[in-house]
Symmetry: C2
Subunit: 231 residues, 2 copies
Amino acid sequence: MKEAPNKCDCEKCDVREMFYKNVEAQYIEIVCNTKIEKAFKKGDMIIEEGKPIESFIYLKSGLVKLFKQGEDVKGQIIIIAKPFDFVNLLSVFSDTNYNYSVTALEDSVTCHLDLDHIKNMIRTNGEFALSIMKKISKVSDTIILESLTIRKKNIHGRVAYILLFFANQIYEDSYFELPLNRREIAEFIGKTTENVIRTLSEFRRDGLIKIFGKSIEIIDKEKLQQVSDFG
Amino acid sequence: MKEAPNKCDCEKCDVREMFYKNVEAQYIEIVCNTKIEKAFKKGDMIIEEGKPIESFIYLKSGLVKLFKQGEDVKGQIIIIAKPFDFVNLLSVFSDTNYNYSVTALEDSVTCHLDLDHIKNMIRTNGEFALSIMKKISKVSDTIILESLTIRKKNIHGRVAYILLFFANQIYEDSYFELPLNRREIAEFIGKTTENVIRTLSEFRRDGLIKIFGKSIEIIDKEKLQQVSDFG
DNA sequence: TTAAAATTATGATATTTATCATACTATGAC
DNA sequence: GTCATAGTATGATAAATATCATAATTTTAA
């Protein structure tokens, strides 16, 4: 990780709209002046479980995973987040320390805003408060409903689901490079590594996908969708 | 369900503290005057999936379950909520319609505040906004972390966990009446009804609990805790 | 009160998934 | 390049869980 040159280029910032739409100029300036932008390499730790929550972080570019490092060996991936999904929405307002860790699955850039400034903005600007709330509510909802969706599927359904998730939600392409290794996929869907590998092999044998190491090509999207829906 | 006599008795309301601590008198009055209190009998539907979200609801007394009615037969219980846990925190600020249903597990009383008034209070009162946010964040966090906790346990661990959940969190007593039938427990922990029943029988045979229909007495709490932790 | 329906219970069996063992393959360090 | 290490892959087996069948018990409705 390295800190990028920290010019206040909010004009070009993708998430400016959401944050600054309703905020008065003088507050924008305060936030801008204290904003820190950080660049992370693939694999870098962005947030570590247990550490104090000091800033309001959002993802500017890249891809990250949120996970529990758990006492047990097995980690558990909570969610894969892409830009526009805030990184640390879960506990920012309710806890002093992180309940989970975040690492970069791809080279990523994050924006760090001082949490106290954000809280002040919420205190002084109701519209801003409401839009943050809307976002928090949405992200939590998504995590909860996605977890219920995955939970009721068997392993075939879960693997199919996650392949379609990457194809449709993340890369918008039938051909993509998996940002997770097989063990991490297992940690995301709550099954063992071996069975994830086996299931991928079966999908390949059945002509649903092609596998080139970490690269996946979805051949029969319709059938894969069926496996996801009814599996 | 019947509407209770609707006097503005906020002075005696358990959750007044949280809501009104930071709110100016004139707003309290507006909310009070439009507040509706509703009484539900055990089994009554409080919120129905798909219906529009019109009010900000919190639970004054009783016990409720939030669940997906799902296309498939099997429902899935998201959370059991007791007073002080808001009922409809999940989607209130991010959606127009409910993503889940809520029914009363015990006779319950809910307070319904006009959602637009709440939003206005958020707009005009930053401290109030922050305390609502803190609560939302906390509830979402709890749901997510609890679901991860349950997910990594086998059926013995899950059943032990839920028994201890009722004993410690809900009833604060080793002897309690289960508010869920065996099928609903299964829906909560994501296992089949038969296996929940079987596991309860095993716990009884092993002397961990006593079972009298829906009533449970926890005999060996320590051992049950071990089963929950390591199962 | 009685019949019907739902719930609880248990056994037998099938299916799914995890675990263990063993290669093979790719990757990074030296 | 070579070695060590992590990741991928597959088979054999064990363990966990689901499914199916059936019966007893409790609850509900007429």
